[in-house]
Symmetry: C2
Subunit: 333 residues, 2 copies
């Protein structure tokens, strides 16, 4: 393998369970995946975390970043103020060509602000968008925007549709990804002003626009990409996650409520394990921030080691699939 391996910069300080789980996930990824990883954070902190994991795997390196962005800070301001925050250092590695991609489970607002500040937008893209993956068919349904832009103009949503199509085509080999508009009814005159205008605009594109979609269409995999504004998308993503968690926790509660249930459940252990795995965000491995000049994967704030490993795998796959090149082919207007 004479080819130089790709380096992925991991913001080791981002996420509710960082740096502990971030470092553990990086160690797993370095051992299991064919990638090099730069752990970005305060060297002392990272070294003592790494000490728990025995000999340092080949392909794992450290990149010093002295500061951190806390979850409760105003992300955009902090990113500007703390030039040496781990997310900024990671983006710098991407910008100067040292790294090929960035992975972070940090505050989403901070990741978006840092990507905009350090990498900038792709030509012709007014606003980057964050994806959310809804469990459905094998690859899931990608919703854009899941929270980068609380206020959106109609043209942004059309760009999200192009970006989502390019992503799903390159990542999953879907020739004509189906694009739906999240709305409150099938008919094209349904919804608020934004939805109605976007509907008309999407009809005039060359995209595979299938019309308005609602919750059931997403769950049934009738669509590959769902576009919406970042407010609605963020609410939808969190409600869906919470609903899934609620059903699963209710199920757990019921099945442990009686001895006879607990005994019967033993025989179903594998089934429940598969079930949890199917709905486990940590298996999905992060979602893309699309529209900036670089491959940026956002991992869940609650990421554990497995989630970090899978986010690094997603970054590797996005690089191999040429996602950024696919995104650069979007019509400018």
């Amino acid at each position: 393998m004479g080819r130089r391996r790709m380096l992925i910069a991991l913001d080791a300080m981002g996420g509710d369970r960082a740096p502990h789980e971030a470092v553990a996930g990086a160690v797993q990824a370095a051992r299991q995946l064919d990638v090099d990883i730069a752990l970005v954070g305060p060297r002392g902190v990272l070294e003592s975390e790494l000490a728990r994991h025995g000999p340092l795997p080949a392909g794992l390196q450290l990149a010093e970043a002295s500061e951190n962005v806390a979850m409760d800070e105003s992300p955009a301001q902090t990113v500007r103020k703390k030039r040496d925050a781990s997310i900024n250092v990671a983006m710098d590695l991407l910008k100067d060509g040292t790294a090929a991609a960035v992975v972070s489970a940090g505050n989403t607002g901070a990741v978006v602000a840092s990507a905009l500040l350090n990498l900038g937008r792709l030509p012709g893209i007014a606003r980057p968008a964050i994806g959310a993956l809804f469990p459905s068919s094998e690859h899931g349904v990608l919703m854009l925007d899941a929270g980068a832009n609380a206020e959106c103009k109609p043209s942004y949503l059309v760009q999200f549709a192009y970006m989502g199509s390019a992503y799903m085509r390159s990542m999953f080999g879907i020739a004509r990804p189906r694009v739906g508009l999240l709305n409150i009814g099938e008919e094209e005159n349904k919804g608020d002003d934004l939805a109605r205008e976007v509907h008309q605009k999407l009809k005039r594109t060359q995209l595979n626009f299938i019309g308005n979609v609602e919750g059931r269409d997403i769950a049934q995999g009738m669509v590959d990409i769902v576009v919406t504004d970042g407010f609605t998308g963020n609410v939808a993503m969190k409600i869906s996650e919470a609903s899934v968690d609620f059903v699963l926790s209710r199920l757990r509660q019921l099945l442990t409520s009686k001895l006879q249930y607990r005994l019967a459940t033993l025989a179903l252990r594998q089934a429940f394990y598969d079930m949890r795995r199917h709905f486990d965000y940590s298996e999905y491995g992060g979602v893309p921030l699309l529209g900036v000049k670089g491959v940026v994967i956002v991992a869940h704030g609650r990421s554990d080691a497995n989630a970090f490993k899978n986010a690094l795998r997603t970054a590797q796959e996005a690089l191999a699939a040429g996602v950024l090149e696919a995104l650069s082919g979007i019509p400018k207007k």
Copy 2:
């Protein structure tokens, strides 16, 4: 019981499975609940449906309505055009005092339009709102607006908060119902312009406003009423329903995939039955349309007989609880 029983008008033609399930639900309700029911629809259709159910229960009567509002018609226009639509006739019975409440599983837009046209708004209420009940604690969490108003002004959401508080107080005896604003983060500067402005307005009310809430707060029962615009609320309700359905159907799929699972599942039949029941919209029995001059309960479009019966029960409870009187006490400004 010398007291005259309350009469509830049921739009027998509304819903995906009307009139069949509507009539069956009315028969059940007339037998089990202490209410009189007027089945509203074409007499011939209703009589042949009733013939399946043996002797007509006492307390069940028919009210002739010759027309129907189809799901694919423009609801507001149709309601105006078809004066004799079953939903209009039901509202008329309420308006002239013959009936004390209306129940319909018909097109939500048609129910709202007919209520506005025939009953009008309560004084001081700019827009009526539809509730959605999220499974959570024993009484569920009421989200307003779940779809009556795709576009909302900040003042509407404040009224929704008042109406929701009055409803939860009178229906469930919650002294100081907790009101949350559906948003994309905890901090008060989060969200779009609408959310930020509503947050400031709610802070200045006498309501028990607990701040912004997200999916997890709802599922964990941290709040009793969630206010949002009708676009976001409708999306949230449908995504939540679809997510719950998806998990349950995935579970069913897994548990029937192997003989050993099917055998173990036999011992868990009661647990799964309880589980399905807990998440079954038909057990919730309809949600209120708040802000019009009358008790109007909207049942799920997919309502079966049990759902219709429970919606009639909800109407009965709302009447007994004095919901309309509670709503009339909302500060006008």
